[in-house]
């Protein structure tokens, strides 16, 4: 904790105080400003991707009434919607946004340990977004290869955007990975090196644990995507054959020979599966803290929660080929990957139990962040359980590549993390802006989002049971697909429109409250963690004024027996004669 000591002694942070508007808000090295920059960019690009999904839903729901998009555009929107949501929204917002905001504040640091690199991380991320958006302005438009970008079709002529779009996509991904690496090294180093006095690893809030482990996963997984992107670029631009076998394309024999399309899939999913947890682990952590705070109760089984995060993180590297059961890989892999995949369900299920057990015997304040957190438990339970269908190789066989998959991953990787993001935005909004959001609009947003998304995705599972394939521009006349499926598709589209519209309520609330919201106190939820104990709200540059906080207890001392208040901040010293729970000796001095 050398950094903390130096910072304390020398008042070093004053040296970095920004002087002008530009250094304060544009080229800022303050982790909080960078967090907001990351978050605003991610939300903007996420809204754009939501717009793409609405175009797709109008095509699927009312194929005869709207001729808004051609098959090219449909596949381009499918691709960009998926890629933007997974990478440029979720990864960026959880790690670049909340990781940046919460790590220094929750650990009691003045900033990230490499502020300049942190700033660079955001600007390279923004560049990657701009490059991606530029693909809409090139002759053939963006790539329509599906977000998995499987070769050969990603770079062959029958796929939209195989000329320029795929190149732009791969370059943008490479830039994103550079940006992520700069940010990620920062997050890991800050957690390991810049925690304040008394903040032992086992006293860290689960938000920090989730973000920390997710970042390590990202640092290990993104390189696989980077090399896959570089290899595909070489295949596309200079005619190598990493992923390209001999083929007949448009009646002409291709120049390629000997490459393996399945190799790409292994590389992609070696990144792609940990990516699920790069998004999920920060969500797990943040929702744990939100639940504990609003339930006024310690998170149930803290140590198990930490070990579950670590176990899930480790296991996430040995389950990737469950995305490839029908890829034509060696079928004997199915035994191994089905087993590891179902094993990962055990620590994941324990996390769900512990969240629910945190509610059990609590004192539940059903504030807006709490509603979103409870909504998350519901949707995540649903999405996790349907994962047991797809993770089990035999059960996956009829369901793979159908709408069951679409329903499953939107439930578990779309709706669930987004509900946590909303919970987190509402929860930390008073700290970030110094104002309270409008409660009524927040609740309206919650109800429309939860009920709307469930009506979108629950029916999709049943269309999948029936065998309706995903990634179809139109079902056409297909014997086993009855007319009622089209009716359901129209209903799903209407639900999607409602959900999209309800996000406008959220945006309005955020902007309106920024100016007209009630002034927030420094700790409106009576929370224990350090970010709520800053001397100023919103926290000033350097976070802590003259003196760094000192930590004396774990992050979950809510409703401790014999104490006057129902929460004890982590900075609260343990007074003599206090009741210390037998199990807690590890957590207290």
């Amino acid at each position: 904790m050398a950094y903390a000591a130096i910072a304390d002694r020398d008042q070093e942070h004053h040296l970095h105080d920004p002087q002008t508007f530009i250094t304060k808000y544009i080229w800022s090295q303050d982790h909080k400003v960078i967090a907001i920059q990351y978050a605003m960019t991610a939300i903007a690009v996420g809204l754009f991707a939501m717009g793409l999904s609405i175009m797709m839903r109008l095509q699927l729901g009312f194929p005869d009434s709207f001729s808004l998009i051609s098959p090219e555009e449909y596949y381009q929107y499918v691709t960009l919607h998926g890629m933007i949501m997974v990478i440029y929204l979720l990864t960026a917002l959880f790690l670049g946004g909340f990781g940046n905001y919460l790590i220094p504040l929750m650990c009691g640091a003045r900033d990230m340990v490499f502020p300049y690199m942190n700033m660079l991380s955001y600007w390279v991320y923004l560049l990657s977004v701009l490059v991606l958006m530029a693909s809409f302005f090139i002759p053939d438009g963006p790539t329509g290869a599906g977000w998995t970008l499987y070769p050969p079709q990603a770079i062959t002529s029958g796929t939209p955007g195989s000329g320029g779009g795929i190149v732009v996509m791969l370059v943008s991904l490479a830039l994103f990975i550079v940006a992520f690496t700069m940010g990620g090294l920062n997050y890991v180093t800050t957690v390991l090196q810049a925690r304040t006095r008394g903040m032992t690893l086992m006293r860290m809030p689960l938000s920090v644990w989730g973000i920390f482990v997710a970042t390590i996963l990202g640092l290990l997984a993104f390189p696989a995507l980077l090399v896959a992107a570089v290899m595909m670029l070489l295949d596309r631009l200079i005619g190598t054959s990493f992923f390209m076998p001999e083929m007949l394309l448009m009646g002409v024999q291709s120049e390629h020979a000997g490459g393996s399309p399945i190799l790409f899939q292994h590389l992609f999913w070696f990144f792609g599966h940990p990516e699920v947890y790069i998004v999920a682990l920060p969500a797990f952590g943040m929702v744990s803290d939100i639940l504990a705070t609003h339930a006024r109760r310690n998170i149930f089984g803290y140590r198990m929660m930490v070990w579950a995060i670590i176990a899930i993180g480790a296991l996430s590297f040995v389950v990737w080929a469950h995305h490839m059961y029908v890829s034509g890989m060696n079928p004997y892999f199915g035994f191994f990957f089905a087993t590891t995949t179902l094993i990962i369900a055990v620590p994941t299920a324990l996390k769900v139990y512990n969240w629910v057990l945190t509610l059990w015997r609590g004192d539940l304040h059903l504030n807006v962040p709490m509603l979103f957190a409870i909504g998350f438990i519901f949707t995540f339970t649903h999405g996790g359980l349907t994962g047991l269908f797809l993770g089990n190789v035999t059960v996956d066989l009829p369901l793979s590549d159908t709408y069951f998959v679409v329903g499953h991953f939107h439930m578990v990787m779309g709706v669930s993390p987004v509900l946590v993001l909303f919970a987190a935005i509402y929860h930390w909004y008073p700290k970030i802006t110094g104002r309270m959001f409008n409660d009524t609009l927040g609740k309206l947003h919650f109800w429309l989002t939860l009920l709307g998304t469930y009506s979108i995705y629950l029916p999709m599972h049943y269309l999948g049971f029936l065998g309706v394939p995903r990634r179809y521009y139109a079902n056409g006349v297909t014997d086993f697909i009855p007319e009622s499926v089209q009716t359901m598709n129209a209903g799903i589209t209407i639900a999607a429109l409602v959900v999209a519209a309800s996000q406008m309520i959220f945006l309005f609330n955020m902007v309106w409250s920024l100016f007209k919201g009630e002034k927030a106190s420094s700790n409106p939820w009576n929370a224990t963690t350090l970010e709520w104990q800053t001397p100023e709200t919103p926290p000033a540059h350097g976070n802590w004024g003259d003196k760094l906080p000192e930590v004396h207890r774990w992050a979950y001392d809510y409703s401790v027996p014999g104490e006057e208040h129902d929460f004890l901040p982590q900075t609260e010293p343990v007074h003599t004669g206090a009741i210390v729970h037998r199990d807690l000796e590890d957590f207290k001095e």
Binding site: M250, L359, G362, N392, T394, V395, L397, F480, S484, D583
Partner: protein, 450 residues
């Protein structure tokens, strides 16, 4: 409080949806009832957990919601409870995994008496190959593929001579016979799926993958591609006809072998000229077509396409749909063409006729049409000259009024609706992207500029 009620309603609603939903597994038509059993087991185990977790959560919300004076219980850990939950979860997971792995073992173990058939995928069509009398599939190579040899058969390999080639997307299979499908792709990834059989597998260029199943119910089932394979992925369809062994044998015997196909002499234009007198009355002696007689231009069209259409008219696949007035006129005339030999000859004769671009008669916005044509160009080529490998005929320089009428017919389900017209069915799906008359005219106006 509302949230607890809603959670209960969502659980109850999901259960009701499950039981009243008209969408569930299609009736099984293969031996893989065990796959359905693993799905049922998984549904029961996960269903119980879904109900239990959410109802318990709803109970907690009702029972422990904030009231003045309530204080939460403080118990950071409960080793007993956590151990119990771990054990119970592990048992539940094992109950799903064990049958899954057992069945997977059977799925990947092909029985010795399985009959082999090769499934060939390409953008955006299916074709099939049987090993013939010797029971061995001949060697194939991408380098051998040509218009005359679409399967890429090695002409030197004796094992391939008796291979039976099904160059259309309808596969016949005998009932109650184990089938091993060898899956081969000529270009990109595809996926062979018949929902009623439950099993599916990707086709991967550069390698051969496999599946096995035993069809158990007579019927016709759709083959879908379920791995994104480019623009017309959703229109890559085929059919599998499951029938009695006798019906299957009769069908298979009527299919050509590679040797038979290679032995066919090329069409004789001199012999074809005599037959062409039938055509000349309407299409003109020079084959340039006559719009007043509703006869399109023939010259310049690709031979394989003319051959296929003549066969369709002759066999009642085309021109028999209600509403196809002009197609109907072709049926009695083509009935006069004696046999496949005669068709070859007349096509050979048409190919000798010089081709002048047909005059433009359709007015439309070619600039708007250019955007629409992007989709078409994936198969018909950027210059509209047609690509045999994609079963896409020439459009550029052909009679534009005829293109308009055919697009209208595709959209109206007049053409492409006959079960024997698999390629027309594909065009029916693709023509749907042209929303109205204006879109059709614009697109055709653009084709006129090519």
């Amino acid at each position: 409080m509302a949230i607890a009620v809603v959670l209960i309603l969502l659980v109850v609603g999901s259960l009701i949806f499950h039981f009243v939903s008209p969408w569930y597994l299609t009736p099984l038509a293969s031996n893989w009832s065990m796959i359905d059993t693993t799905i049922d087991i998984t549904l029961i185990v996960t269903g119980i957990v879904f109900i239990a977790v959410n109802l318990f959560m709803a109970y907690c919300i009702i029972r422990f919601r904030h009231k003045p004076g309530r204080k939460a219980h403080y118990d950071p850990e409960n080793a007993n409870l956590e151990t119990w939950l771990t054990v119970l979860t592990s048992i539940g997971v094992a109950a799903m995994l064990a049958p899954g792995l057992l069945v997977w073992g059977q799925i990947i173990t092909v029985p010795d008496d399985a009959m082999e058939v090769e499934v060939v995928g390409q953008q955006w069509h299916w074709s099939f190959r049987f090993p013939g009398d010797d029971g061995v599939l001949g060697n194939v190579d991408i380098r051998h593929i040509s218009e005359a040899n679409p399967f890429g058969m090695d002409p030197e390999d004796p094992n391939g001579q008796d291979d039976i080639l099904i160059a259309n997307p309808v596969l016949h299979l005998p009932i109650d016979q184990a089938i091993k499908t060898l899956l081969r792709s000529k270009d990109v990834l595809h996926n062979f799926t018949v929902p009623q059989f439950r099993v599916k597998m990707d086709l991967v260029p550069g390698t051969v993958t496999y599946l096995w199943f035993t069809p158990t119910v007579v019927g016709t089932y759709e083959i879908l591609c379920e791995e994104l394979c480019g623009l017309a992925h959703y229109a890559m369809r085929g059919k599998v006809v499951v029938e009695s062994q006798a019906d299957f044998d009769a069908w298979l015997n009527a299919q050509p072998t590679f040797a038979e196909l290679s032995a066919q002499p090329p069409g004789d234009p001199v012999a074809g000229q005599a037959t062409y007198t039938l055509c000349a009355a309407c299409h003109g002696p020079d084959g340039q077509g006559m719009q007043p007689l509703n006869a399109p231009k023939l010259t310049g069209q690709q031979g394989w396409y003319l051959r296929r259409q003549i066969q369709y008219f002759k066999n009642g696949v085309r021109g028999t749909q209600e509403g196809d007035l002009f197609g109907a006129m072709m049926v009695p005339i083509m009935a006069v063409v004696a046999d496949d030999r005669a068709i070859e000859n007349v096509v050979a004769y048409i190919e000798t006729l010089p081709s002048e671009p047909a005059p433009a008669t359709v007015t439309g916005d070619a600039t708007a049409g250019k955007d629409l044509y992007r989709t078409c160009s994936a198969c018909h080529g950027a210059d509209g000259s047609g690509i045999w490998a994609l079963n896409a005929p020439r459009l550029a320089g052909m009679s534009d009024w005829y293109l308009v009428r055919q697009l209208q017919n595709f959209r109206a389900g007049i053409r492409g609706a006959h079960p024997g017209d698999a390629y027309g069915a594909q065009m029916r799906m693709m023509a749907d992207i042209l929303a109205d008359e204006k879109a059709i005219n614009d697109m055709v106006a653009y084709v006129n500029t090519l």
